[in-house]
Symmetry: C2
Subunit: 257 residues, 2 copies
């Protein structure tokens, strides 16, 4: 019986191992995994632990289960992000692209009203402001404006943002990014933005705004806006339907409420 709690949790290790097998091609789409009882034996884990690993991989879209049949590797279409919070640049890199990042500004400035309200700070309070133009294959893809609250912001400003993504820096500084809210809208580009993106003024663009939190309670640490050229970008996600276990008022055996 092994000692508890050294290193990372066992279920995380199992997840990693399975992901590796898939990444390396040992397991391909729709291949069955060993049964849960077999995995227990093979790695000396309890079924609960095995199921926690598999369960998370299912909810990440890496695997799927069929009652009575088995657990299988999901086809690529599902490996897509289930609405993961990923930095704008980070996302491109994960898809194997080599974005060219030009930093147009990186300063400390008083927060503009919109940013202040989203960050829940008084307008005019100092924030770090970073403006970047991201290009792929020599052609502009999107324009990004990021506002960071002071403590994190100052540290981020002192790094080389053409090489490291903002999220990577933030996390390296010890702020574990956890969640965010995102808004997408279609807009028409104003003159200045159109010029930077090298399209005609009035061209359509996908506007994405993100507010990022370290946890569910404390105020946000980042507010970012991005303008993507509509002709070069579309946003993709996977969606799950909440099995709404809905309004059957049948109490059944019930709990001793």
């Amino acid at each position: 019986m092994p000692v508890h709690g050294a290193d990372s949790p066992l279920y995380v290790q199992l997840k990693r191992l399975i992901k590796l097998r898939i990444a390396s091609g040992q397991l391909k789409a729709h291949d069955p995994l060993p049964g849960e009882r077999q995995l227990m034996q093979a790695y000396g884990l309890s079924r609960t632990t095995v199921r926690q690993a598999l369960g998370e991989l299912v909810s990440e879209g890496v695997l799927y289960r069929r009652h009575g049949k088995g657990t299988f590797v999901a086809p690529r279409r599902l490996e897509q992000n289930l609405a993961t919070l990923t930095g704008f640049v980070e996302e491109l890199r994960e898809r194997g692209m080599r974005p060219l990042v030009q930093v147009l500004s990186a300063t400390v400035c008083p927060a503009p009203v919109e940013a202040a309200s989203q960050l829940q700070i008084p307008p005019g309070e100092e924030v770090a402001f970073i403006e970047r133009l991201i290009s792929i294959d020599g052609e502009p893809l999107f324009l990004d404006r990021t506002y960071l609250v002071a403590p994190v912001g100052l540290a981020v400003l002192s790094t080389d943002l053409t090489k490291e993504s903002i999220y990577a820096v933030i996390e390296r500084l010890g702020y574990p990014i956890r969640e965010g809210t995102q808004t997408l809208a279609a807009v028409r580009l104003a003159g200045a933005e159109a010029r930077l993106l090298r399209v005609r003024r009035g061209s359509p663009a996908l506007f994405i705004r993100r507010v990022t939190y370290v946890n569910a309670v404390s105020p946000p640490i980042e507010y970012a806006e991005a303008l993507y050229r509509a002709d070069r970008y579309q946003y993709q996600t996977r969606l799950l339907r909440h099995q709404n276990a809905s309004y059957s008022s049948v109490p059944g055996r019930g709990m001793n409420s």
Copy 2:
């Protein structure tokens, strides 16, 4: 000790109960829930079961946990959909709106190329086609075109789509919708669409395309496109960051791999 497996699972019942307490106002944002051990006792459940219920509510954004402190009701901002697969009309109704649905067409026709390719059927195969214009407060909001594969499609066509949402009908027919993929893009409206939406030709619109599956394996059952007036709609989601338990090659105590 209660009997197993009557009615819905115990953890689902617990979830329902907690959701009810929140909906009814007994529990408000940031209120602490009873501890897990206390919930065990109160309802005669094991800790595992309690944790499964709480865990799912956390991942749905209804609750949040703080190690060493407790479990709390998430503020409204988190109750937002975590990328839930919801019908276009359904979504509006859930937000308490009363959309006016005009059915522009509802017929059987050969699948156009785009729809056929998304639905993984040969182009020209018969599908149900439904075109609707949805308005709120007497003003058009979006235009929706839905293509359904034959078996489901025929049944859906025979219902009153101004009253019931397409997803509701599909599920009533015994096809439990599970997941989908979604693409968002910014576009410029062509003449015909602009006229229907009562905006100027060339106005920007948010284009949302959805492919819907009953499970991870079988081909999709629905392909839908919607064009939202950019001036009246934006798309919101909550995002979670995958705690990527990343590349620490520290094997720790490891598993007996």
